[in-house]
């Protein structure tokens, strides 16, 4: 591991890339969504993935986790090519990531604690006592009180659903967490708390976070690196400073528009 001293005072490490996307092409209904897209995600960072609505941010995430087929290109996670690996390898990798879907995707027929225990039940052979204890531990880690344990998802608020879904995504102590618009549908205070929670968990558990988002506050507050999607490619990537210096019209509009300046000012104040 080499240390580089770049022009700005931040220290950037050359790190191992945990996700490696190369020249990926994806089309949906004969429409080209991703066109030879390449992206790296490094171990231990929070990557924010932004782009206009309907341009394929979620598509890339779903392609990486294998919910959408790709036309060509390679995707490697933990150094294993997901296109050519065996079924067992794939299952082993799926155990090492957790996904938070946009609407939470909690199983509506299971209580909160059962939702969190679900992956444990499938993959680990633990005693019921340990499963209960760990699940409550996880629920507490995401900032919920233990008395939500026996509630059904229908009885929870939007913010609580996201938290339970995050606890479920973290159920097996994954190394990567994919978050699809984690703060959408939350009020600014709830969104801020959620950002903080993601940051704390990321530091406590040493997670790598891949976050699809629209939320400028999240980008400013917790992302180490940002990748911008446009025309099916990553056009700019780097920390917030790079975004602010970019001359690409969409990036300029997005990061230096009215709303963005407010978010930036707020982040600077904090």
């Amino acid at each position: 591991m080499t240390m580089l001293q770049p022009a700005n005072k931040n220290i950037i490490e050359v790190r191992d890339n945990i996700i490696e996307v190369r020249d990926v092409v994806v089309s949906l209904n004969d429409r080209l969504i991703l066109n030879k897209l390449s992206l790296d995600v490094y171990r231990g960072e929070v990557l924010g993935f932004v782009g206009g609505s309907g341009l394929g941010k979620t598509v890339l995430m779903r392609t990486i986790i294998g919910l959408l087929p790709k036309v060509s290109g390679t995707i490697k996670v933990f150094g294993v090519d997901l296109g050519t690996c065996t079924e067992e390898q794939r299952h082993a990798i799926e155990r090492r990531w957790g996904v938070l879907f946009q609407q939470g995707a909690l199983f509506s027929s299971l209580t909160c604690i059962q939702n969190v225990q679900f992956p444990m039940r499938e993959y680990l052979h633990l005693s019921q006592r340990l499963k209960d204890e760990i699940a409550i531990f996880k629920l507490e880690m995401v900032g919920l009180k233990p008395d939500v344990r026996d509630k059904y998802p229908a009885e929870l608020s939007g913010g609580m659903i996201k938290r339970v879904a995050l606890a479920r995504a973290l159920s097996l102590d994954p190394e990567i967490v994919f978050l699809d618009e984690p703060t959408s549908g939350l009020d600014p205070i709830g969104a801020g708390n959620f950002d903080e929670l993601v940051r704390t968990l990321q530091q406590t558990l040493g997670l790598t976070v891949y976050m699809v988002t629209h939320d400028l506050d999240s980008l400013h507050a917790i992302c180490d690196r940002i990748a911008v999607l446009s025309d099916g490619k990553v056009i700019v990537e780097g920390p917030v400073e790079t975004m602010l210096e970019s001359e690409h019209p969409w990036v300029k509009e997005y990061f230096r528009g009215k709303r963005s300046r407010a978010a930036g000012a707020a982040a600077a104040h904090a």
Binding site: M120, I134, P146
Partner: protein, 377 residues
């Protein structure tokens, strides 16, 4: 990946030293739990315990929690416990585990008699609530009919025709087929058994009375409860789930008038019509079997039928149909409106809608039988 390990050394009688090693992660959690429990059991006599975590290669929330559990189990009896050598990077996590699971969930009472009594009480209240809701929905429907009658222009005529198409017209083929088969089966059984004592001519009486008074309307009502009652519940339920019902209410519209009345009216119109068609199909089936299997020509069948049945039988049968339709419609609407947010709840209410309405249809048929016997029809 190294196996998790806890080795214990007893130092000077009442001091115990545990050395942990290997990976303390989710994959090894099952083994690790056994090791932790064994270590706790072994250390019964020890006064002071030291845990050396220096050789642990990896630790995740599972490992951190088990370490915390070890510490808690040891310290219950006031023993001194010391965790040493924990790598700095895991401090956060172990502290996090230290705060977790402090509040024990309340234990539920496991008394069988008490829980059975509780269940009976609950069931009783639920039944009472069902009856009240039925009466309430009936009242709301009456009010809605009254309001619509005073302002006929507000009646959702298009909606009712649409439901009439779904509930009535589209159900015709399946109703005809099933009642036809039922008529055939009754006639065949009648001929087969009546022939033994030479009474096969009376099959016509049996088929005619049974079909017109009871079976025609009952079979059709049960079919409609399953076919249309369930779909009404599911429609209303999913509208409730997606807050469409709330949206209607906030626009100042009455849900009973807009959603429920057209459906119930369509049922009340469709069910007698279908019952009539069904009865005819069953008689036709009976006649066919009498001809082909019993050797009774259609002319004789028809003339015997004319002698055997009077208009009374038909009136008794068909007058039950609108009442049954009303019951099916009310039950389906109540169940649809009680759907809560989840997909499971929708399934549950749909099932209960069908079960309840079929049950009530049969009970009602019995009540009608007593009533008509009493008035001598």
């Amino acid at each position: 990946m190294a196996e998790p390990l806890i080795t214990s050394t007893i130092l000077g009688g009442d001091r115990l030293e545990l050395a942990a090693a290997g990976t303390w992660t989710a994959d090894c959690a099952a083994d690790l739990e056994g090791l932790v429990d064994a270590a706790v059991a072994q250390a019964k006599q020890a006064r002071a315990v030291a845990i050396n975590m220096g050789n642990v290669e990896r630790l995740d929330t599972f490992g951190a929690w088990l370490l915390e559990r070890l510490v808690r189990d040891f310290s219950t009896e006031g023993r001194a416990i010391n965790v040493v050598g924990l790598p700095d990077r895991y401090n956060h996590l172990v502290n996090e585990a230290h705060r977790a699971n402090r509040k024990q969930p309340e234990q539920q009472g496991a008394d069988i008699v008490e829980s059975a009594a509780k269940m009976i009480r609950r069931t009783f209240w639920l039944m009472l609530r069902d009856i009240l809701m039925f009466v309430q929905m009936f009242g709301q429907l009456v009010v809605a009919v009254g309001r619509v009658a005073s302002r006929p222009k507000t009646f959702r005529f298009t909606s009712m025709v649409h439901h009439l198409d779904h509930i009535g017209w589209k159900a015709v083929p399946i109703i005809l087929l099933i009642t036809f088969l039922i008529g055939c089966i009754i006639a065949q059984q009648g001929i087969f058994h009546f022939r033994k004592f030479g009474a096969d001519a009376y099959v016509v009486d049996m088929v005619g009375i049974l079909v017109l008074r009871e079976l025609g309307v009952l079979i059709v009502a049960i079919m409609i409860a399953g076919r249309s009652g369930s779909s009404i519940t599911a429609e209303l339920g999913s509208m409730k789930m997606r807050e469409e019902v709330d949206a209607l209410q906030t626009m100042g519209l009455d849900t009973v008038e807009v959603l429920i009345l057209p459906r119930v009216l369509a049922l009340v119109i469709a069910l007698p019509a279908l019952a009539f068609l069904g009865s005819m199909a069953a008689l036709y089936g009976g006649g066919m079997v009498c001809w082909l299997y019993g050797g009774m020509s259609p002319e004789i069948f028809l003339s015997r039928l004319q002698e055997a049945i009077s208009l009374d039988h038909f009136e008794v049968g068909i007058s039950k149909a609108p009442v049954m339709a009303l019951v099916i419609g009310i039950i389906a609407s109540i169940e649809g409106m009680s759907v809560k947010g989840s997909a499971e709840s929708l399934g549950l209410q749909t099932t209960s809608s069908v079960v309840k309405s079929i049950f009530l249809v049969i009970v009602l048929d019995g009540v009608f039988a007593i009533f008509f016997a009493a008035i001598g029809k």
